[in-house]
């Protein structure tokens, strides 16, 4: 399964979380792993509209991601194409991946599911859900910790 999938519960209603996904202010506030405000952010939230966000990581390096909104279903789902245009992970440079974020209302707010798929061969990813996670975790234990998010 060539994708990363994360589920998060957020104590805010879906409409508020959705705004954070599709507005420049929103994207600029959270995109990037380290706790710095984005250096710049743009978002044109309509199908075919583009987004771009530039941020700095704790190592002082700057990174920029850009992409296009492919599907927008307010307030439940956003699909974007996604690539590094500056910095990022070198082996990924120039490669377009797909980011899908789904929101579901729950008692305490919102359950967010993020799926980042590396490849265009989504069918194979979808056909083989389950099973792979556990196998990978076992295999992962056999390897020493590698570099974290890094640029070289």
């Amino acid at each position: 399964m060539n994708e990363v999938c994360l589920v998060r519960r957020i104590a805010a209603r879906p409409a508020i979380v959705f705004e954070a996904l599709v507005t420049a202010e929103g994207i600029g506030s959270w995109w990037g792993p380290d706790d710095f405000p984005a250096l710049s952010a743009e978002a044109d939230a309509r199908v075919g509209g583009r987004f771009r966000v530039r941020f700095r990581t704790a190592d002082g390096l700057e990174h920029e991601c850009a992409g296009e909104f492919l599907e927008i279903e307010k307030p439940g789902r956003v699909v974007m194409s996604w690539r590094w245009v500056h910095g990022g992970m070198i082996e990924e440079r120039g490669k377009v991946s797909r980011l899908e974020i789904r929101l579901r209302a729950i008692d305490t707010g919102t359950e967010l599911t993020l799926v980042h798929s590396l490849l265009s061969s989504e069918h194979s990813a979808r056909a083989h859900e389950g099973g792979w996670d556990g196998a990978l975790k076992k295999l992962t234990r056999r390897f020493p910790a590698g570099p974290e998010f890094s640029t070289n």
């Binding site: 399964m1 990363v4 805010a12 506030s29 959270w30 980042h116 083989h128």
Partner: protein, 118 residues
């Protein structure tokens, strides 16, 4: 070079998309080297089908086969899964940290909206 690495990563993930091949790898990760017959034993499928799966794994460089006498021993190629594992780990960390920040941002907005609503 970059293209080569990307293409290889694609192929490794494609090879890993099959449950039989994942089971083979998990076993090899535990038991180092096994004969083809021993590897095929737990599976319901016939030996030629297992051989085909082994071909796929060997083609992408995840396993290697060595003939010793009349038996073929299969083992994992050390480090061959590392690029795939690293990819998943890096993005897991990237998104996990970003989502923490997204949650903090949205929750602050929610509190503000709550206060205004009162």
């Amino acid at each position: 070079m970059v293209n080569y690495r990307e293409e290889r990563l694609d192929r490794v993930f494609a090879a890993l998309s099959d449950p039989t091949r994942r089971a083979v790898l998990s076993r090899l990760a535990r038991e180092r080297a096994l004969s083809v017959t021993a590897l095929a034993e737990p599976f319901e499928i016939k030996l030629p089908a297992v051989m085909k799966h082994l071909d796929v794994l060997a083609e992408v460089g995840l396993i290697r086969r060595a003939k010793t006498g009349r038996t073929v021993q299969v083992e994992m190629v050390a480090g061959s899964l590392k690029p795939a594992v690293l990819w998943l780990r890096r993005y897991e960390r990237f998104w996990s940290a970003s989502l923490d920040r997204l949650a903090a941002y949205a929750e602050a907005k929610e509190r503000k909206a709550d206060e205004r609503g009162r």
